[in-house]
């Protein structure tokens, strides 16, 4: 197989031939090729269809700024749309397809949009599809989305993984062109910790694409030598295939490293890409510059590309975009394309220089003071029409055209902190003026365009920055290099002809669209951008923005400086969502916390539920149980009949110590703790400062100056943070120290009439746990199982005689096994969170559903707990009038009138005669469970003046669940209302 347009030379490895496919056709290229260069070498220049009008397009550029040559890569789950053929590294077996075309790239049915273009001008969405309103969502938008678009997603899961990572450096150098390399060499030799990042796979920047001589050798060779030295320095990290995508606050940068994009599939265990967060004390932006085009009629024909891109393909990749090439330029640099090609023996049909005073070019026909006014050839350029200096026209046959409208410094990262660039009229370009703190801009990115000056600029800026870092840098011996001045005479568009002249080729924005925006009053650059969508495509208008606003400046009679520019935001180039997600996908979205009895529970076949990050056993199905209710009912009944065990380790535990520990607790809990005796436990109600209930729990006094307080599982982190706030910010001189001990202890609830009997087989006999010696709300340090230190608390959430027993976590697995064995003679069960919930609802205990951030102590029936004799968080504002209305919500119980009926959480209460609406709302149901002890559903809810309405009949209405049940207001304490069991 031949590559008809492959010439000699270039930086490709001809020893490695790579097979690839484009739209089903097989081709060959070489290592070092991009997909675009390999296709051009094979004579393929039509690579895509445009976004809106489905115009045939070829590559405009040879880099990441590419607007046209967007292709789909790979297949199956790895299928990836919208990749730029100009940056895709060729590998053996690569499959690529063009997109936004049907049935084929050459014949695209939606090309009809191009004929309908008068209807699709700027602002067409707003005008054409205004009416009727309902048509927008159902008809117009889907239609437009189908017709205009990019590639499509695979829909299959991505089989690859994506990493994130963190890097630190003294100096981040962004871009490894002439200025970046000389800066890195300077800083690297000075011993600074340097990161040098470049989006290309080969460092060197334009040195790889130009025929420059540095000293006595080719520029690419100098770049390779410097690269080799940098790789040998341990303090320099050279990151190729790495795009710095954003400059964030205080020297933080985002960078995307494409680790495996250049191979068919990542190696086992290796990520496809890594999203790095780079912390840099200083940064040097050496991002170079991007060439811009000149707009003229049909300037989007395949084969028309930027002059620099054209010579990049020839010089770096030995791929000839055409057999007969023309060049259209308004500046000296554009002429390099002609001279480079002529030197390689390529036929250059003509050079069209818009200036009348441009330099001479040998070996081709040169037209000064001339412009290209049109291009012919729908699927690829065949000829250009040139308006000569004398006004006559000439047609020149060519199959490639290089266009140069000058260079735009790559200032994007200087704008990420809202820095506004400055217009430099001599360069005819915006240059950086307000880079982020810590960033210095070098070389072409700073408008320093000659190679010699760029090399110097990088080294000099590096020396300056090094001295900020207390390091001494020396400017290295820099090779002699070209030092041409920038000579340009701005030209943004050629006004001849009535057809469309393209500015933004990715979003299909033309010169006419800018004129229309002006005509309709959208004249500020921000309005221009949004009205025409200029620069709003994924390339962020790297080639096109300036042309658009220069034309607007002409129309309004202002200078470009007065007109101003829009600025750029991250990311510099598109970043896959997968890279932002990193490893946080599926089950790895967040860590999982396991309870000490997890292993045992899993052996029992427990069903688990996520509670925050915790995985808790929800219930333990037994053979023959086919519905979760069977398991839960059994666990509840067995616990109330004899004894049940439950892992309650997830509750937050905070150790509170110090001579002022009791006083501290007095202030963070609404109720008083000062008089709590050592060896006793007390329930605590914690308010927020606004008087709402924040959390609740139990606090055990282990010694005069030592308490262990518990929080709800969900609030453990927040309560701890709040306690630190109180300790450090409100009462800094209280002698109190706190630390979380949640994880240090495995804690189990043992509940039911046989709880004490079971524990007697566990607790060492020297500890008396009789009701007299260890009554309700007692606590103490004990030993179990022959000497293991443990803590015992006589507290109950279920309303039964109950204990919580805690051992160092490593023994938690042993303890659950020991207790299950000891419990056999009592028919003990182990119960999960579902049974726990049923029993607390039966007992009328408020929990998360009731402590929902909108309830007060009064709402929950605990107003009396707020001590008025002391200062505590929330006590003052809990007295506010609005929180103490006579019709305030009260927590009460509910049962269905028809005992076989179900009731639904979230139902709102309505009086029987009232219509069900918000005005008649009497409150809502917070918790519901089926009580196996009572044989019917029971509920807890917040009802206006609820406590005085016991016995009233209401409707519990839930329009979302489409349910309505007649309920009776009852006491919230369905089981043992006198509390005899827990004291027994």
């Amino acid at each position: 197989m031949t590559q008809p347009n492959r010439i000699t030379g270039g930086l490709i490895d001809r020893a490695q031939t790579l097979n690839f496919q484009f739209d089903g056709t097989s081709f060959q290229g070489h290592a070092g090729d991009t997909l675009a260069s390999a296709l051009l070498a094979n004579g393929v220049r039509l690579m895509g269809r445009s976004f809106k009008y489905h115009r045939p397009r070829g590559p405009l550029t040879a880099g990441s700024e590419e607007p046209n040559a967007l292709v789909e890569l790979r297949s199956g789950g790895r299928r990836e749309p919208n990749t730029r053929a100009t940056t895709v590294e060729l590998f053996d077996g690569l499959e690529a397809r063009s997109q936004n075309r049907w049935p084929s790239l050459a014949f695209d049915v939606m090309g009809v949009n191009d004929l309908l273009s008068p209807f699709f001008a700027a602002g067409f969405y707003y005008k054409t599809f205004m009416w009727p309103k309902a048509f927008w969502e159902k008809f117009y938008e889907p239609m437009i989305r189908r017709a205009a678009g990019l590639g499509s997603l695979t829909g299959e899961p991505d089989p690859d993984s994506y990493d994130k990572g963190f890097l630190h450096c003294d100096l981040l150098i962004i871009g490894a062109g002439p200025s970046g390399l000389s800066a890195a060499l300077t800083a690297g030799r000075a011993g600074a910790r340097v990161i040098l990042a470049d989006e290309d796979f080969r460092p060197g920047g334009r040195l790889n694409a130009e025929t420059f001589i540095l000293g006595d050798e080719a520029g690419a060779h100098w770049a390779a030598m410097v690269t080799e030295e940098l790789r040998s320095l341990p303090n320099v990290r050279l990151m190729t295939r790495t795009t710095v995508i954003g400059a964030f606050d205080h020297g933080i940068f985002g960078a995307l490293e494409r680790v495996s994009d250049h191979i068919a599939a990542p190696e086992a265990g290796k990520p496809r890409q890594i999203l790095w967060r780079i912390y840099a004390k200083r940064s040097l932006l050496c991002a170079g510059a991007t060439e811009r085009s000149i707009a003229f009629q049909n300037n989007d024909r395949p084969g028309i590309m930027l002059a620099s891109a054209l010579r990049s393909y020839v010089n770096r990749w030995a791929a000839l975009p055409g057999q007969s090439v023309a060049v259209f330029t308004n500046n000296d640099d554009g002429l390099r394309t002609a001279t480079d090609l002529i030197a390689k023996g390529v036929r250059v049909a003509a050079v069209i220089d818009s200036r009348s005073d441009g330099p001479n070019v040998q070996g081709t026909e040169l037209f000064r003071g001339a412009s290209v006014v049109d291009a012919a050839g729908r699927q690829g350029i065949r000829a250009v029409t040139v308006r000569l200096a004398d006004g006559t026209r000439r047609t020149i046959e060519c199959d490639a055209l290089g266009v140069s409208g000058g260079w735009n410094p790559n200032i994007h990262l200087t704008c990420h902190q809202r820095g506004r660039p400055r217009w430099d009229a001599d360069l005819a370009a915006f240059v950086p003026s307000e880079p982020p703190v810590g960033m210095t801009v070098c070389g072409a990115a700073n408008g320093v365009f000659s190679t010699s000056a760029a090399l110097r600029s990088g080294a000099e800026m590096a020396v300056t920055v090094l001295s900020d870092l207390d390091l001494t840098g020396t400017i290295p011996d820099l090779p002699k290099a070209e030092d041409a001045a920038t000579r340009i005479s701005p030209l943004w568009h050629v006004p001849d002809g009535g057809g469309r002249a393209w500015l933004d080729q990715q979003n299909d924005v033309t010169v006419k669209d800018v004129k229309l925006a002006h005509q309709e009053g959208y004249r500020s650059v921000e309005h221009l951008k949004r009205y025409t969508t200029l620069g709003m495509a994924t390339d962020q208008g790297k080639n096109s923005n300036l042309g658009g606003l220069a034309i607007m400046a002409e129309l309004t009679g202002k200078t470009i400086a007065e007109t101003g520019t829009t600025i750029y935001r991250p990311p510099y180039t598109p970043v896959p969502i997968a890279a932002f997600a990193g490893r946080s996908t599926g089950k790895e979205f967040r860590p999982t916390r396991l309870t000490p009895s997890h292993k045992w529970a899993a052996e029992q076949g427990a069903v688990f539920v996520e509670v925050g990050m915790w995985l808790r056993a929800q219930w333990f199905p037994k053979p023959g149980e086919t519905h979760w209710r069977q398991s839960v009912d059994r666990e509840v009944l067995a616990t109330r009949k004899s004894v049940g065990i439950c892992d309650v380790t997830t509750l937050g535990k905070i150790d509170v110590q110090g001579t002022d520990a009791a006083e501290f607790l007095n202030r963070i809990y609404a109720n008083a703790f000062g008089k709590l005796a050592v060896g006793k436990v007390r329930y605590g109600l914690m308010l927020r400062e606004d008087g709402m209930v924040m959390d609740d729990g139990t606090t055990a006094r282990l010694a005069e100056d030592h308490f262990v307080t518990t929080t709800t599982t969900a609030n453990a982190v927040g309560v701890y943070r709040h306690m630190e706030f109180c300790r450090q910010c409100l009462w800094p001189d209280l002698d109190v120290q706190i630390i979380s001990t949640t994880e240090a202890w495995a804690q189990f609830s043992v509940a039911g009439p046989s709880a004490r009997n079971l524990l007697r087989k566990i607790v060492d006999p020297e500890h008396n746990i009789s009701n007299e010696a260890f009554p309700y709300m007692a606590c103490g340090e004990i030993t179990i199982c022959g000497g293991l230190r443990a803590r015992l608390f006589r507290i109950s959430f279920s309303g039964e005689l109950a204990y919580e027993i805690a051992v160092p976590t490593r023994y938690g697995d042993g303890l659950i096994r020991a207790m299950v064995a000891a419990g056999q003679e009592f028919d003990a069960v182990v119960y999960g969170t579902e049974a726990l919930g049923v029993m607390r609802i039966e007992k009328g205990h408020a929990a998360g559903n009731e402590l929902n951030g909108t309830t007060t102590a009064l709402n929950l029936g605990m107003a009396g707990m707020i001590s008025k004799k002391k200062d505590s968080i929330g006590s003052v504002l809990s007295e506010r009038e609005g929180l103490n209305q006579p019709d305030a919500l009260n927590l009460v119980g509910f049962r269905p009138l028809d005992r076989s009926a179900t009731i639904v959480t979230g139902s709102h209460f309505m009086k029987s005669e009232d219509e069900a609406n918000a005005r008649n709302d009497q409150g809502y149901m917070t918790s519901v469970a089926y009580s196996p002890n009572l044989g019917h559903y029971v509920g807890l809810g917040l009802l206006k003046s609820g406590r005085s309405r016991i016995g009233e009949k209401l409707r519990a209405v839930n329009p979302l669940a489409n349910s309505e049940t007649e309920v009776e207001v009852v006491s919230a304490h369905f089981i043992d209302p006198e509390g005899e069991r827990l004291r027994g």
């Binding site: 860590p591 999982t592 396991l594 915790w614 697995d813």
Partner: protein, 190 residues
């Protein structure tokens, strides 16, 4: 300690600590550390520091540091707050011991089983940590310590020997997730 009937399991749930070896890296679960927190009581600083010196054979470490002449070492964890580590076999009752030694000048809380400990050894540790946390682990000096987040888990990274030997302390309940994160990072790097 008394001989009791309960068997201990490691944080990863095994009867023996788990060890994973790569060519240039070893990740070992370590269940042989006793740990307690030590916080200075207000107004008792002089006696507290004196007792600290007696315990460690040197001054209590400054912010970000680890210190101790013998097997007992202190790790700074916050203002006026330290962890004290010692071998589990000989110091299972470390909290009781410290509370007695610092009688009234410190608040002491047992922390042994609040944490899972992984020791990470080998020349590739720096590259592995780059994928795990925002700390500049590559620049940590021997005998330094810092707390940070690893995959959403609040962890301590202790530098035992710069560039070679590190300890990660993570919440014990998250041991499996933390181990998975360490292994994934190691496989990704090595």
């Amino acid at each position: 300690m008394a001989e009791h009937r309960l068997k201990a399991v490691t944080a990863l749930g095994g009867t023996e600590p788990r060890i994973d070896s790569f060519d240039v890296l070893t990740i070992s679960e370590n269940a042989e550390m006793a740990l307690a927190s030590l916080a200075c009581r207000n107004g008792r600083q002089a006696e507290f520091l004196k007792q600290g010196k007696k315990l460690l054979g040197c001054d209590l470490p400054e912010a970000g540091a680890i210190a101790g002449k013998g097997v007992v070492k202190a790790i700074w964890i916050g203002p006026d707050q330290w962890f004290v580590e010692a071998p589990f076999e000989t110091h299972e009752d470390i909290a009781r011991h410290l509370a007695a030694a610092f009688s009234g000048t410190a608040s002491v809380t047992e922390q042994t089983d609040a944490w899972v400990r992984f020791d990470i050894e080998g020349p590739a540790t720096g590259s592995v940590f780059e994928r795990l946390c925002a700390l500049d682990v590559g620049r940590m000096a021997s005998g330094s310590a810092a707390r940070t987040a690893i995959e959403h888990l609040g962890c301590f990274v202790l530098c035992r020997e710069a560039g070679i030997r590190y300890t990660v302390l993570g919440p014990r309940s998250g041991a499996a997730s933390l181990h998975h994160a360490l292994m994934t990072a190691a496989r990704s790097v090595l």
